[in-house]
Symmetry: C2
Subunit: 283 residues, 2 copies
């Protein structure tokens, strides 16, 4: 295992574990190093300068662990700090926003996309810019209550259904006012895949849901192949349904309570988490 490709995954907290969950079957021979900056979450309500400082610290920590590839599995950090992170480390860096926009471009017929995200991600307009590069128009809708509702465990709760209904109603009104006809919903926060069943029941059937966890894992696999970073024998991907990939080849680092990270995190990862290490990065 010492020769395995080392991939770093960074998030402000637990949400990025939905990305790691998708990465496990996509890159089965890699060893993963995950940092959740739980002591300083949520990033979504913080300023660009603060977010960039935090994200660069975590990226440098991961590089010190010997990673050869870095996935920014945090929408807020991808939106506000990807350039600072790229400038600070020498390994390839892929963020969830660019991969989400590319996937939306591949499936949208109307060329209008609805992006659901946190306040900071929306205010950055990073999705609108990334979508514009693919000839898509993006309507960005801030949904600040969804993360706390998910962390409360209310992923199938009537209150969450009502909050979603309100947010989607407001978004579709704004779309109409802007003469947009979104046919694709991009989940611009790595917590949101846990709301997918509820979203599917709430959205018009004509709209397709793309979550940035799945699109990012696919993009990472493609990018690793393009960079010849995958040994030949690894090209065949595991299929999640056929073979449950194990988190035993993952190393987890959290900047706050290990116990809470394991308890909440396992919901996002879809399996129990072992070997979580407390990481002191100052602050």
């Amino acid at each position: 295992m010492s020769a395995a490709l080392r991939i770093g995954v960074f998030d402000s907290g637990f949400g990025g574990l939905t990305v790691l969950r998708e990465l496990l079957p996509q890159v089965p021979q890699a060893e993963f190093f995950y940092v959740g900056d739980t002591a300083r979450l949520p990033y979504g309500s913080k300023s660009r300068a603060t977010i960039a400082r935090y994200a660069v610290e975590s990226a440098q920590f991961l590089v010190a662990q010997g990673i050869e590839y870095l996935v920014i599995a945090c929408n807020t950090a991808s939106a506000l700090a990807i350039e600072e992170i790229r400038a600070a480390v020498r390994v390839p860096v892929l963020g969830v926003i660019e991969t989400g926009a590319a996937s939306a471009a591949a499936i949208s017929r109307s060329r209008d996309v609805l992006v659901l995200a946190t306040d900071a991600t929306v205010q950055s307009h990073a999705y609108a810019q990334a979508c514009a590069q693919h000839g898509l128009r993006a309507l960005e809708k801030a949904c600040p209550l969804l993360v706390p509702l998910i962390e409360e465990g209310w992923t199938e709760h009537p209150v969450t259904a009502e909050v979603l209904r309100i947010y989607l109603h407001e978004a579709l009104e704004q779309a109409q006012a802007a003469q947009m006809q979104p046919d694709t919903v991009l989940l611009g926060c790595t917590h949101y895949p846990l709301l997918r069943p509820l979203l599917e029941r709430t959205l018009p059937v004509s709209m397709r849901i793309l979550d940035s966890a799945a699109t990012t894992a696919e993009s990472v696999h493609r990018d690793l192949q393009a960079r010849s970073m995958l040994p030949a024998q690894v090209i065949t991907r595991l299929h999640a349904a056929a073979e449950a990939p194990s988190a035993s080849r993952c190393h987890f680092y959290a900047t706050d309570s290990i116990e809470k990270f394991q308890r909440l995190g396992s919901r996002f990862l879809g399996q129990a988490m072992h070997s979580v290490t407390l990481m002191d990065i100052g602050g």
Copy 2:
């Protein structure tokens, strides 16, 4: 003004401004120094060690500004770090929890109190311990969704009413199971005073609401008198209704976005905020 009593007020964010709002008429001649550690909020989801480290840094910053008295207007920091703060600074330190428990003891007839608070405050059982010292039993109920709902501005929203109804229903069921009859509700989070109108409509009329902002301001005034820290001519308090106290004798420091601090903070303070300074305390 250079001879004015300097009082420090510390919170992880905006909520402590509800305490400052009550302090302004209570101690009209003082000069106030407020720190909102907005870059690292919310404290409610973090571990004791992390919270203590953050709170001590802010307390030391305030002491360096020449404060002679420190109010910990953050329930989580009062619950988890008051001893560490007292050990780190030489000025008197008063926390919202001890004052809330004392006020509840003064009015409860059934000697049972319902405390609504964040997860971390509840898990610390600091309110139960403080109440026990006054011969009160406390039922502590974690309400993690209330802060995000308040910060979304949904203080009169049907969704917030429903969330409150669910939390209160669960709490009253737990009270019944524990054979408790709470007649007093202690708002154990400085955000919650903004929900007071909604709470008054949701609670049984027999229950009285105590918010820790008001009780803390009264306790600070009493403590300053007891310590002879108030000049004789200042003993007469202003009455908020008669004379609107101004925030011009306040200095605000935030560890993140000044613009957001002013925008959100004015809701909690009840007036516009000037002279907010960005404070870099590392991290």
